[in-house]
């Protein structure tokens, strides 16, 4: 009798697990997003889940870093660069069944710009001053000044239903988009599950019925879970995990050059760090390859102010003299700057394993030039607060990247820029960045950004360390996955699962 019951239970179990695993893609990542509103929550894990799968923008960015149509079918830009006219895709519906048209686009842009919603994305589209709905499938934006990066910026602005324009709460709880997957359930610190949206505009896609994002804080646990088949995909894994999973049976590690970078930031209002010669000396004391070997398990390349993945823009590091380690040269520069004796530096560290290790190696390398660096490892909330308030001498952190140089530079280095926490203030650089933003001639833009890179690499407020590898590991059942250099998971729509 007992045996019989056990057999029934076994049967039931295998039936249940079989049914569930046949169509569910199990993804494991470290933390739960802080809310689901795509205009409000901009942290990386939220982008990965919500912005990539539930929503779409007018444009999209491909793995090859090209800006391509998404909800907009095509667009025209006026000769003066001040008017953009978008033709919208037809036959698109939201997850709640309502149709998509130009009013939704207009409402979404207004929502991002509205003070009540308080979206951090507002500055990305701040040049848009006029929105005009021409017909249900055509919309026109007027700009206050030419803004070359607008099309790539729009890829990050999720289009929401017009009804949500003034609603602060609804989208935080139940997102409604036009993307391939619709929201099903959120158990905070447990999982978020999305199900296939039957009304998706591309017939036959997506091919999996359900995607479940499990929140698993331990890297070691995620790694074992992938190996044992508990999870099918680990997006954006750290270099040590990638190295350990590479070559394991059935596991594929997809890699691409990261657009984001690790950095040492310097506060230009703190003591000797205000002197460009001292910042150049810091660069000369660093051995970037040693840092990459030690802290990134060799997975990364030294880089300048732009990612080498931006092949049309980035200058090679061989152009930057200060990238060759030169302790004597650094000491000479420090002496010329009038710096004598040990320089006491408090360095705040973003709480990630790679940044912690980078900080330890940097601490040792800077010691050779007479910098006495004290490391302060902080919890994320405290780090962000101090970072925003410029409460640091130096910090070690990681910045995300983009497809356009403007997004790397303008907000970070322009005087008073929204993330210029270094208080860097240089009129020459401001002029170069204005030129890059307002000039539409590609050659002239290139010249401006070349000059900006030359200046920023050695004497800017950031010592750029490395562009890592972005790695996503997938299990044996998954095919059709393509990694995106922005870390987005937009290719889940093409993924299929085999038994």
């Amino acid at each position: 009798m007992a045996k019989h019951r056990l057999a029934v239970a076994l049967l039931a179990t295998s039936f249940l697990t079989g049914a569930a695993s046949a169509a569910t893609l199990d993804v494991a990542m470290d933390t739960s997003p802080a809310g689901l509103d795509p205009h409000l929550v901009t942290a990386f894990n939220s982008v990965l889940i919500v912005q990539s799968n539930i929503y779409q923008g007018l444009t999209d960015t491909t793995a090859g870093l090209q800006v391509v149509p998404s909800l907009a079918d095509s667009w025209e830009i006026s000769a003066d660069g001040l008017t953009y006219t978008f033709k919208l895709a037809s036959g698109v519906t939201f997850h709640d069944g309502t149709g998509f048209d130009a009013e939704d686009v207009a409402a979404s842009i207004r929502r991002v710009q509205s003070p009540e919603i308080a979206s951090p994305l507002a500055s990305r589209i701040s040049p848009i001053t006029g929105i005009r709905v021409i017909d249900p499938m055509t919309i026109e934006f007027t700009l206050s000044a030419p803004f070359a990066p607008l099309l790539s910026s729009l890829a990050g602005i999720a289009i929401v239903p017009a009804e949500a324009e003034t609603n602060k709460e609804a989208l935080q709880q139940v997102p409604v988009g036009t993307g391939p997957f619709k929201f099903a359930e959120w158990q905070p610190n447990g999982f978020i599950s999305l199900v296939k949206f039957d009304g998706y505009r591309v017939a036959g896609k997506p091919q999996v019925d359900m995607v479940k994002f499990h929140f698993v804080p331990e890297a070691a646990t995620r790694q074992v879970g992938l190996a044992s088949g508990e999870y099918d995909m680990l997006p954006s894994i750290d270099p040590a995990t990638a190295l350990q999973l590479t070559g394991q049976p059935g596991i594929t590690v997809h890699q691409t050059r990261d657009l984001g970078y690790t950095l040492v930031g310097m506060n230009t209002t703190r003591g000797p760090l205000g002197d460009p010669r001292v910042r150049e000396a810091v660069n000369m004391l660093l051995d970037r390859q040693e840092i990459i070997d030690g802290a990134l398990f060799g997975a990364g390349v030294p880089g300048g102010p732009l990612s080498p993945a931006l092949v049309d823009w980035a200058l090679p590091t061989s152009d930057f003299a200060c990238y060759t380690q030169n302790v004597e040269g650094a000491k000479a520069l420090l002496a010329a700057a009038g710096v004598t004796g040990p320089v006491k530096i408090v360095m705040k560290v973003l709480p990630r394993q790679d940044t912690r290790d980078i900080a330890q190696v940097v601490q040792q390398q800077l010691a050779a030039g007479g910098f006495a660096v004290e490391l302060v490892n902080q919890e994320i909330g405290q780090f962000v607060q101090d970072w925003r308030n410029s409460e640091f001498d130096m910090f070690v952190s990681a910045n995300g990247g983009s497809v356009d140089p403007d997004q790397y530079f303008y907000r970070t280095f322009y005087s008073g820029g929204s993330t210029n926490v270094f208080k860097y203030d240089d009129a020459g650089l401001n002029a170069l960045l204005d030129a890059g933003r307002n000039v539409t001639d590609p050659a002239a833009r290139k010249a401006a950004y070349d000059a900006a890179q030359m200046q920023l690499a050695c004497t800017g407020p950031i010592a750029h360390i490395a562009y890592g590898s972005l790695s996503t590991a997938v299990g044996p059942k998954v095919s059709g996955f393509e990694i995106n250099p922005l870390g987005r998971l937009t290719s889940l729509v093409n993924v299929t699962l085999s038994e």
Partner: protein
């Protein structure tokens, strides 16, 4: 016959603890490698002649970092337990001696702290103070204070009712004198046993906190931190994580065994503290 075996156990436990403590305290002078020195060409090496326990992800000697880590751990926990003994012991003694409303209010306040799971309260305290070795020590001191208060109040209550204490009170001896010369000396064995056992538990708590990133911070050598960093590359090289775990076990084991042996020798009827101390 029985007591001979007990003495042997006590001697063994004492020797075990003393060896570890001396190793840790004297680490800077014992010729270990520099625990901070990074050699990138020697990263994540298995045990070999130069690095007896291998190297970590930045090419630092694991043996040196373990010995220094034990030092960090002992400093933190010894500070924490001493503070807790001082505060909790005083509270427990006074509560037992004065009884009444004082006892009630003080012990209910201790109950409030005691109601938190230890790790949770410690995490909260550290979040406020900022993560580092000192915060961890203070957090552990706070969570252990009510434990000491409860552990000492019980036996002290019994002593306060003893004939000679009542006698001393009757002839008008000062409170301080009664507590100092009549009650406290009789609590020495309780204190020794429980301190030893709580040290053992505190070592585990400190390691848990460091493991969660809330204790000593890099580049400080710390056992919990080594384990926490080492687990990220366990398949490449299990050595740092495995040896750090064993070191935590040995440290904690030593103090627990010592407490156990002391109890057998001094006061076999004492109750355990460890049920509440982790």
């Amino acid at each position: 016959m029985h007591s001979l075996r007990q003495n042997k156990l006590l001697a063994f436990a004492l020797a075990f603890v003393v060896v570890q403590v001396v190793l840790a305290l004297a680490a800077p002078w014992l010729g270990f490698q520099d625990p901070f020195r990074q050699i990138m060409s020697q990263r994540i090496k298995a045990p070999n002649e130069v690095n007896w326990l291998g190297t970590d992800q930045l090419g630092r000697d694991v043996l040196a970092r373990i010995v220094w880590g034990a030092r960090t751990s002992l400093f933190s926990t010894a500070t924490a337990v001493s503070l807790a003994l001082l505060a909790g012991g005083t509270i427990g003694l006074l509560a037992a001696y004065y009884r009444g409303w004082f006892d009630r209010i003080v012990m209910r306040t201790m109950d409030v702290l005691f109601a938190f799971p230890i790790l949770l309260l410690a995490i909260g305290v550290i979040s406020v103070l900022g993560p580092n070795a000192w915060s961890a020590a203070i957090a552990i001191a706070i969570v252990y204070t009510p434990i000491f208060a409860r552990l000492l109040r019980g036996p002290a209550l019994v002593l306060c009712e003893a004939e000679y204490v009542l006698g001393a009170r009757a002839v008008g001896a000062s409170d301080l004198r009664i507590i100092g010369s009549h009650i406290l000396p009789n609590l020495v064995s309780v204190i020794l046993v429980q301190t030893s056992i709580l040290l053992s538990a505190a070592i585990l708590v400190e390691a848990s906190l460091s493991f969660l990133g809330l204790g000593a911070q890099p580049p400080t050598p710390s056992l919990g931190l080594m384990l926490s960093e080492g687990r990220n590359f366990l398949l490449l090289s299990p050595w740092p994580a495995v040896f750090a775990g064993i070191a935590i076990l040995l440290l904690s084991f030593g103090f627990n065994l010592l407490g156990d042996a002391l109890r057998d020798t001094l006061d076999p009827r004492l109750r355990d503290a460890e049920a509440v101390a982790q």
